[in-house]
């Protein structure tokens, strides 16, 4: 066997780098669809993932919204869970020991209701060596500013990002909401304020009606739409953000299989997150990793980075 064919038989490298973080592959869960990892550990080795992203954490435990909290819609689902979580204290006490056993980097997603809470959370996460990076959820209302969502106002977004940046001693990923007129304005604002990477998109605000009972199907009224239904919107926004900023972009929205993930990579996302698909198939992510490897092999590529941003101009 000559050298060339030996190389061809080698497994392609799926490794990517995000804001100084080396990932084994570009696949990770979307926050809130994977618990704290424990729920899916019975199904596969979590070290098969590029990273583990936790459910959104807040300074104090959060009980979440009344029920019904979820509704199935065409090729998707609406959720209004209300960011139910154990709070950062219980997370450290109860979940850290479990996450410590994995080599896959842990990305802690977090949020706050006020600037102060965001800052305090950034300090708390800085103290945790097991947390490799933090993902900032700015799709929350600022309770001190009349409930305006941080992530829909470029100034408010920049303010919270620069505050968190000052208090956080690790890579900062900022997750953007798609519920804005122009996502590139938000992307530029959070990049200038110090984001090391941008993750987009969060869920699209939606509503569903039970026509028999003449009632909204979620107790909360509105909810976040996720699943395959939103993928074209997500791909478009990731494309736009990639064109706008220099920091790496993580693409998320409706990915259920490797080909979906590749759409995001081709338009320039450095990594992807898988959300609703985890509910549909607990093995969705390992299957996507496998599919990416197969794609590289079929295309004769030995590095997934050759795919990233490989979109051909028409």
């Amino acid at each position: 066997m000559n050298n060339t064919s030996q190389q061809k038989n080698q497994r392609p490298s799926l490794s990517v780098e995000i804001a100084g973080l080396r990932l084994k592959n570009p696949v990770m869960p979307a926050s809130g669809t994977f618990g704290y990892g424990q729920e899916y550990a019975p199904f596969f080795d979590l070290d098969e993932l590029g990273a583990i992203v936790t459910k959104g954490l807040s300074l104090h435990p959060k009980a979440g919204n009344p029920t019904p909290r979820i509704a199935e819609t065409t090729s998707g689902m609406l959720n209004a869970i209300g960011l139910q979580n154990v709070g950062v204290e219980d997370f450290i006490r109860d979940k850290m020991a479990f996450l410590r056993q994995f080599r896959a980097p842990v990305i802690a997603n977090f949020f706050g209701n006020t600037l102060e809470e965001y800052g305090e959370m950034a300090r708390r996460l800085s103290d945790l060596p097991e947390v490799s990076a933090a993902e900032l959820n700015i799709s929350c209302p600022n309770v001190k500013k009349g409930g305006i969502v941080f992530g829909t106002d470029p100034q408010a977004a920049a303010e919270v990002v620069s505050l968190v940046r000052r208090h956080l001693d690790k890579p900062l990923i900022v997750k953007l909401t798609p519920n804005v007129t122009d996502i590139t304005v938000m992307a530029r604002a959070v990049e200038e304020a110090g984001a090391d990477a941008i993750c987009c998109i969060n869920t699209l605000t939606g509503m569903a009606v039970d026509v028999h009972r003449r009632k909204l199907r979620l107790a909360n009224g509105t909810g976040g739409l996720s699943g395959p239904a939103i993928r074209p919107v997500a791909v478009r926004m990731v494309y736009q953000v990639v064109q706008t900023v220099k920091v790496p972009v993580i693409g998320v929205g409706g990915i259920t299989k490797a080909e979906d993930a590749l759409e995001f990579l081709v338009v320039g996302a450095r990594a992807v997150q898988v959300g609703t698909a985890n509910f549909v198939d607990p093995l969705a992510m390992p299957k996507i990793v496998e599919g990416l490897e197969r794609f590289c092999r079929e295309q004769g590529m030995d590095d997934i980075n050759e795919v990233i941003g490989s979109l051909q101009s028409t």
Partner: protein, 286 residues
């Protein structure tokens, strides 16, 4: 807890609108406990997107297709066709493929007693069969089975074959006694005050059962249904209000992971929502 692609072994209509599906399920006979459930997805396609939860009716072995092969291990679910997911299931035949995730959730705690009472409303009877199979080893088991009409009364003879005494009641009197299953329960509790009660069915029935058991200080376990996305405690979409819940101090329990079986005292009964009709599959009515 496992997830695999499996094969439909049979799918039969039990009474109008109610089906029994047998699915090949290696590992289930030893793993599945009474009161647990499975998440089923008809393979392929994104419509409907989510799996559907179904209580396990029973597990067992059936002969292999040819001599020399090991017996086939199966799980059986009973379901009522009410929405898009169950309509798809209804159309499946022997040999068709489904994705099977389970067994999931916490089952019933078995409290040994000389007298045990099971209360089933419609398709709510599903999780009670495996429970009955265990309870008959330790004492007298009575099944009080209620429904709107005779079509809602399922699999009663199978309970009888286990040695369970059955008492059927229907709202319209088309089978058994005319009236509510809780009226029968009231009489049984008067006669056998030292019993345990295990119940599954529509929320109004469960509420009435709880009221009867509470006043008579009879231990009660209930199996709840809820619409859910994941079945493993990740999505937090299927929560119910736990005892002591209030607006200012909310306390939610995950139906899939902390349930679906709860001790009555774990729940906030005044706030138990009518989230589940007696459809058995927790789908929106089509």
């Amino acid at each position: 807890m496992q997830n695999y692609n499996s094969t439909v072994l049979s799918n039969q209509e039990l009474s109008p609108g109610y089906y029994r599906m047998r699915i090949l399920a290696p590992g289930y006979v030893s793993a599945a406990k009474p009161g647990q459930f499975v998440m089923v997805r008809v393979r392929g396609g994104l419509e409907p997107l989510l799996r559907r939860p179904f209580g396990i009716f029973r597990t067992g072995f059936m002969p292999a297709d040819c001599e020399g092969l090991p017996d086939k291990e199966y799980v059986e679910i009973l379901y009522k066709v009410v929405g898009s997911g169950t309509s798809l299931l209804q159309d499946l035949h022997q040999g068709d493929r489904v994705e099977l995730l389970g067994p999931l959730g916490n089952g019933f705690d078995i409290h040994p007693a000389a007298e045990q009472v099971l209360v089933g409303g419609g398709i709510g009877l599903v999780p009670l069969y495996m429970l009955a199979r265990q309870l008959v080893k330790g004492g007298n088991v009575r099944l009080l089975m209620g429904g709107r009409c005779r079509d809602d009364i399922l699999a009663v003879t199978e309970f009888e074959r286990l040695g369970v005494a059955t008492y059927v009641s229907t709202d319209d009197g088309s089978l058994g006694e005319e009236g509510l299953v809780t009226e029968v329960l009231e009489r049984k509790l008067a006669k056998y005050p030292r019993t345990n009660v295990y119940a599954c069915g529509p929320t109004p029935m469960l509420r009435a059962v709880h009221e009867l058991c509470r006043t008579r200080k009879v231990p009660l376990q209930v199996s709840l249904e809820a619409f859910m996305a994941c079945g493993v405690g990740a999505c937090l979409g299927c929560v119910v209000k736990g005892a002591g819940h209030s607006e200012s101090d909310p306390h939610y329990l995950c139906t899939c992971k902390e349930g679906p079986v709860f001790r009555a005292e774990q729940l906030e009964w005044d706030l138990l929502e009518k989230g589940h009709d007696d459809c058995g599959c927790t789908e929106e009515e089509a």
